[in-house]
Subunit: 195 residues, 2 copies
């Protein structure tokens, strides 16, 4: 059965993204050439330009794809207005999502410096939308008297950094299961915002 | 007055380190050449090899220097055996130390992947020594009944990630003074380990 060009594009596009992510994570954006990315997926470098205008476009689409995945997956979860439960879902979701994508997380942090100013602004605004989701939960919990926090913005930064840090040490098959890791971190976060 | 070769080395060595740190932070280790580093400090690339055997040696000396600074500065602070005070000093120290060195912190996290296995092991063991300092404080506080924590190792990872995260958003002259940042984070950490 002959493949259409469309099905080629559907298969090759994601393979290019995956190759770029792997190479950027291993060597850093600045050290990776379009030729190397093409080589990884078995394309001539000329053919690679049919899929993406340049390396910057590839980087943005990786970072933007990561942030959209994050926002969409969180938005698709059943939400509750009860602040404590809502915060617990956020904590468990954030750990599970990031644990599954250590490479994407690494690039999202490391390669911000290589974005053009416009692209940086776009990615930053997505990141801010995600942070705002947590800040809103914290503000609601403070208003209801469930949480005792001084500064919802700083608490947001603190919680997100703590949870994302899991990707730097967690290994599959280690001492703790993913659920045990979530349990421990949820205990820390719960205490940090109550008491 | 003629300069001796010794005083040249004393001035040039640190300038090479500073240039390497700046270039690694801006472009990533893999994208930076010895020629670029030499150019930054106004040396011929041949002369650069009088100061360092290769780029890997420069990277290790940056990461090792950072960890030794961290360990030595912490060890030089007046220590107390009172767990709550001890933890508070650790939190304030960690934030102040890292806030002052965002580039070194960035490289210490990002360029671990570019260390040879032996060098990685050396840096990791220094990092573990620092983590152990915090774990010991937490263990003592648990033994004395001051702290309620489930897992001192995970609490160590959580606290260090939360505090180091300050370097990703803190800017001089922003909304909060360094001391206010420390106050907020100390409140979060104190609550996370008590309650």
């Amino acid at each position: 059965m002959a493949r259409t060009q469309g099905s080629h594009a559907e298969i090759t596009g994601p393979r290019i993204q995956a190759a770029a992510q792997r190479l950027f994570a291993d060597h850093g954006y600045a050290a990776v050439s379009m030729r190397q990315i093409a080589g990884e997926v078995g394309l001539q470098v000329g053919a690679l330009y049919n899929y993406t205008p340049d390396k910057q476009a590839l980087l943005v689409s990786l970072l933007e794809g990561h942030m959209h995945d994050l926002l969409d997956t969180w938005a698709a979860l059943p939400q509750t207005v009860e602040p404590m439960q809502n915060l617990e879902s956020f904590v468990r979701f954030h750990i599970a999502f990031h644990m599954a994508r250590p490479q994407a997380v690494f690039i999202a942090y490391m390669e911000l410096r290589n974005l053009t100013p416009d692209n940086f602004t776009r990615i930053e605004s997505l990141r801010r939308r995600y942070e705002d989701a947590l800040t809103t939960i914290l503000d609601r919990g403070r208003a209801s008297g469930d949480f005792h926090i001084d500064d919802a913005k700083l608490t947001t930064f603190g919680i997100i950094a703590m949870l994302t840090g899991v990707t730097t040490w967690y290994r599959d098959g280690g001492r703790l299961t993913p659920t045990e890791v979530q349990d421990h971190y949820w205990n820390m976060v719960r205490r940090a915002v109550t008491a």
